[in-house]
Symmetry: D3
Subunit: 319 residues, 6 copies
């Protein structure tokens, strides 16, 4: 049944697409990406798309704008080549963080990008750990929204979790942190942020009991790790013990690596592989867990007309 | 400049529309709503709409489905009558609570209703305190999303707020609670919920320091008050003092009134008037603050081409 | 070939869906309909929809607005769950009666509802006996418009139809009445209506020869039976004999049952089962003929890629 | 206020556009219509459209397809030229007769053409006497649907209408005929048609009392007059007196003129001027009443933001 | 795999459709085209379309507007009849010549017609030799744009091409002429046009070396042959030898036949069969090469999910 | 009348926007562009947009993808801020070069970008010298397509143009080159290109008489100048005299500056200012002519409802 799946990847994260294809037992189809002398891009899909179920894998990681436009060109090319269905597989949909209008006259970027994907030809999207659950509703096409929570929790199975608390960096993410904590049967706490000026936000207290405990900080994304370091500084005021950081999307941009390497009480940083990492952008204590099998599973199940939600639960309601 | 504004109201909350019109200095235009013998509705707008800026005021309060369809019929009627612009004024957009896909194969109701409004002809929406900020992004048309936070906070100005803490019922609403707390210069706490089964969620602890303090509970909506009572029971385990409840949308459906009247330590319930209340659906200690002036202001400013965001801040960026 | 049909039903008329499923030999898939405390609805489709041909059965019967919004939520849920095709099966599309703009600034409700269905995700519609044939053209998606005429006519086969005339309540329905009359080889007559005021219409004469004859009155829908009684009073001025009433959509709302039971010269009321009836809403002399087999046939044929129009005729043009 | 109206006309009926412009007091703007050697059309609007309210006058009269494509090209040209609003003024929307799917696998042509007009750029439509009222609902843009009934009735004011009956050719048009009859305080009758084969329909009786009376036949459109002659033959079986024919759209195509001229008992044929007539296509007894003033009035009122519906009634609900 | 292809043709060029069907081994399905007495068209597809891959063959040849509207009605009929996919097969898309806005306030006709086709229901288009390659981008649906270059070049294989030059009538077509020339390993030249007035363009010189050479003139379309004769007159100023004319779309309208027959030094006119020709519209020296096999191949390959681009090249990138 | 124009600029070319504003007599409104740590962009428009005619100036120059996404975010922000009209002012629309599908399974990038602009909220576009005229038709919104031909020609007025020929680099651009040549009353020639492999194209001859003449090469865009140098090498084989280069969009990317500075026989390079240049990207002999006045004129005229086409001609047809 999987024989008419055709998978292409852009430049953002070909290793991820390759790993998915390996699990699916299909070849990754070649693409040719050209940059013209005026800096415009052209992408050629170099395998037949006609009446195929086409999957285009592209993480919206830096350089985000290049990767986004590349993805849009690939979707449009697949449509023009008479593909039957076109699924954008976006392991990290980074624009999800622009999910509200918290200043006058800004774009809700996640909504705009969701609309652009549909305009370019995407008929479905598979993605993971959107910054907030509501972003799912921004897409005019069906979305399979995978969660990394179980994969991250699996890392801690069998480890000593005594006297440990799960910490969310802020209230907005506390609900997911709570779910994660419950998988590990741990309590939860959260940072409370105060906006100092238009550009400055500080964590002014930790709500919940963390004093003297070991902590697992969980966040959807770690980029420059600036706010992560700030959070750890605040936690240390409460004399916490060893710190573990768990995140779905480990970007480690800017000074992230040196910042994180400098934290002696950080035991480990657990991340999935939705973001490709060069050696110099890899923190010393990083533990990576691949979610390519989860994405491959989602593709295989969809192609076979099987439920994807049942991947995530024992709920009797899954068909 | 306000002379070509035409305002209609559905059956949901005519008093609100009337108050807005009074402030704007325009007459509320008549509508005739007919229910046919097969239960289908027909709405006739009984004033000329041609090339006018039409405003249709309808809160999505119980009976929600009746009020929703009524609103859709009115929007479509205004479009067919060659209105220039058609703004749906929805003081309480109750479907905003259906903002995520937290079970398989459900609709994200808020997104669907937003799309239905646009299909029916709405070219803009004015609403207040959406359950989550992200719901703003569900609308395919511009939205002026007003906040009741300042109006509710104004109630507490000049009162004794010593030893008081603001409490959010859950993490999802904690960010707004924090904003409200900061306006009053108070600390914040939040309920942590645990899902017991597919249908049952319980508050298993209060995250943040509430012991022995007076509390102001803030939530976007109070309906049957069931979870509010559960929260207060949990708070009393921490021996809190007097309780004040602040909410934007006071529905007080089902057993809300008897439940709330039975809470002796509740000092007062502060709500806006986005929801119409009959006498028997009015809790004994209710204090209502009208937000019709805020809505009228938004209409007036939009009509005059003036910034609405500047209503809410001293930010130098407002034009 | 019917194995990937998945059928759901809303609350409007589950018996009809059940009967269709029995004929099709598929299980009716479960749904879970929740009413939140703020009166908003949520519908969960409790069977896998992925790449399935999904059928959602919902008659737009009272409470019409509840049933309509329920249907819209179910369509949207099926779309979000990656169904391949989504057919709204609407045995009684009651809004079809709002098919023209016969007063200024009203919505053409049937057109609006047709658009809402498409917005919510319907890719096809199966329905029966739209109030006027033109309503077919309001839908932006393909419609299989079934007719109950043959089923109703079958009731009269073998009965004594001597000295009998078919009567249409008004000119608008006279064309369908003529078709029905020709199936039974009977002449036709029609009521002529006069509008007395904005709200009052009276039948002022019967056009065509009815004097002293037995009559079969045919109409698409009987709701409160108010105009039906008025028509019979007028007919009696022409000293007609026994009266038979035939209708596709027997709603019998309001005082219909007591009104109809009080007519001694009414022999029988023949209706299909597009509308669910409780015992107290069932007139004494009602004869019901099920059209669920016709709907099941249409589903089966469509699923097999066979012509549906050939169900209705011997026309050599049917493929 | 009328100064920024710009009116263009296609080739179909420039005299009508000219008369409208005369009443409105604006110049008819020039167009240049080119037929290329491969038979494709090009239309150039030869007056500035930028930010103007543009009206394009084109009746869909023979050659219908030429006139339709010409209209579509003009609408698109106005849009591309940055017009603010673009109104298609279509005195005779002939495709309205294709308003239902009365055979398998045909297009509902009126719906298709309505959609094409919107695709090409029409933001509003003004038209007259659509074949059925429901066609109004086919348009995705606002429609001002004018009626010629009063204008036609005005012709009979002051004439001897004793012993006269209004006759509709079939049941489908009987409702409009009734309205017309009531304006003249006359009774109404209708032809009953029987389909003999796929292609043949005959009038097999007249329903209603016509024997020995003078008749006024009213129909929306008279084309070849074939069915009109058939109707008159049938009426003569009832020994009717003098015949008057009233129609909105007098096309008089094919053998219409000779057919009509040959009817000695036809007193007169009353028609509006929505269709341009050459001398040889003008029946001998034709009386034409211009509706250009009605169209001009509709344009003027819309432009001034005044109600158009109030043109047609004394209804107190008009704003 | 080809068993669910259903092919219909309009009136424009049934022979072409018939030939395609012969090659595909399917029957051409019947259509019934009716012209009503008011000149409106109705098309009935007389074979089942339900869940079929429907192909509608219609060349936009004179009478272009009739053929276009006929095509639009057929597409809409197929959509309403629940076809799965609907491909418009347009051997000659004549409106492609209206591909730019070279005068103020004209429509870009090719773009408009492309949009109309999609509005009417086309989900894909197969066409040949669009006037410019960019027209491909006007279509909102996938287009398979076939080229006749190889077929035309095949005519010259094995002939004496010594001292021969390929001539393009203008610069706009010179790029295609160059491709054609390279297939035959010949040099290329082009006419340079000068616009004399709004309506008059003359060829004022030939750019490239043609003196004393035999020439093959290539153009996408030959209609009245007026500019072709003008080009030949200009070429004779350079004392060229025998002339061969090659074109994809041989319309030969107006005085084309007599004009071309009068040119003694024209050896032959080579054209494909995208345009149907009557005997009197056939130039004496016409050689026709059928491209129906190429269209049939494209249909077959698409239906089998095979690449169509690989038909045209040995490029290793074709899947 | 220009008082409600609000102009914003992105990062691409603020000097151009500034110059336009100076001519228009309006202030350039401020924007705040933020790059988040995950590389996503956010743009805040820092002036009121409500009911304003908003213009957003952004050239699609390198880094093209950054500038494109920035533009899309700004358009969306303006729409969400209730602007009345939103015009994208794009001095250099570089993606216009991707205007055809000259390889299998590529996107027609110019069409995709045109659609993305409309999705993001652009209601009109002003741009200059699209690579081909047909690209105009890719936009679903009205486009004012300005030409730099007259501005470039003005540079040569009064200079010695004896024995001079205008040269187009290829046939595709020869039509524009001809127009330019006619403004200067000069003959025209063109390079003929041969594709050597999938990636390599060479100029194999010059079609037209250039031997021993001075040449003015004209092209729409000069990027790395690689093909320009190749063209000049080929021209020197014909012993041409001094060379002048004229181009609308002077990008001078990669090695353009050193390449061009090394050509001793190049007298001058004439370009407009649609592309911002740093000092090191400025060729030694560059002459820049500003087209900001032309853009400002187009904005002013549109705002005043005056014809823009009349800017470019004395054609009596301009309104």
């Amino acid at each position: 049944m999987t024989d008419d799946i055709t998978v292409f990847t852009g430049n953002a994260h070909p290793e991820f697409a390759q790993e998915m294809c390996g699990i699916l037992g299909v070849d990754l189809s070649p693409t040719k990406i050209t940059r013209f002398s005026n800096d415009c891009l052209q992408v050629q899909l170099r395998a037949n798309c006609r009446r195929k179920d086409v999957y285009i894998v592209q993480s919206l990681v830096p350089p985000v704008q290049e990767n986004l436009v590349e993805l849009l060109l690939m979707l449009d090319a697949a449509r023009g080549a008479s593909a039957n269905h076109i699924t954008a597989v976006i392991p990290h949909f980074s624009y999800a963080r622009s999910d509200k209008k918290d200043a006058p006259r800004i774009s809700i970027g996640a909504k705009l990008v969701a609309d652009l994907l549909a305009t370019a030809g995407a008929t479905r999207v598979i993605t993971m750990t959107l910054h907030s659950e509501q972003v799912h509703g921004f897409f005019p096409v069906p979305v399979d929204h995978l969660s990394a929570i179980r994969e991250l929790a699996a890392h801690y199975k069998g480890k000593d979790l005594s006297n440990t608390v799960v910490v969310s960096p802020d209230f907005g993410y506390a609900k997911v942190a709570s779910e994660f904590a419950r998988l590990l049967k741990l309590p939860v706490a959260a940072g409370s942020k105060r906006r100092m000026s238009d550009d400055t936000v500080v964590i002014d207290e930790i709500v919940g009991d963390v004093r003297g405990k070991k902590v697992i900080i969980i966040d959807d994304e770690v980029a420059t790790a600036g706010s992560m370091v700030e959070l750890m500084d605040k936690l240390r005021e409460y004399e916490v013990g060893a710190i573990s950081i768990a995140t779905t999307h480990g970007l480690f941009t800017g000074q992230a690596v040196e910042r994180l390497n400098a934290q002696d009480d950080v035991l480990e940083i657990v991340s999935t592989d939705t973001v490709p990492l060069t050696e110099e952008r890899t923190p010393a204590k990083l533990e990576t867990r691949s979610v390519a099998p989860l994405f491959a599973q989602a593709v295989r199940r969809h192609n076979a007309g099987e439920s994807i939600s049942s991947l995530f639960s024992d709920d009797v309601t899954h068909g």
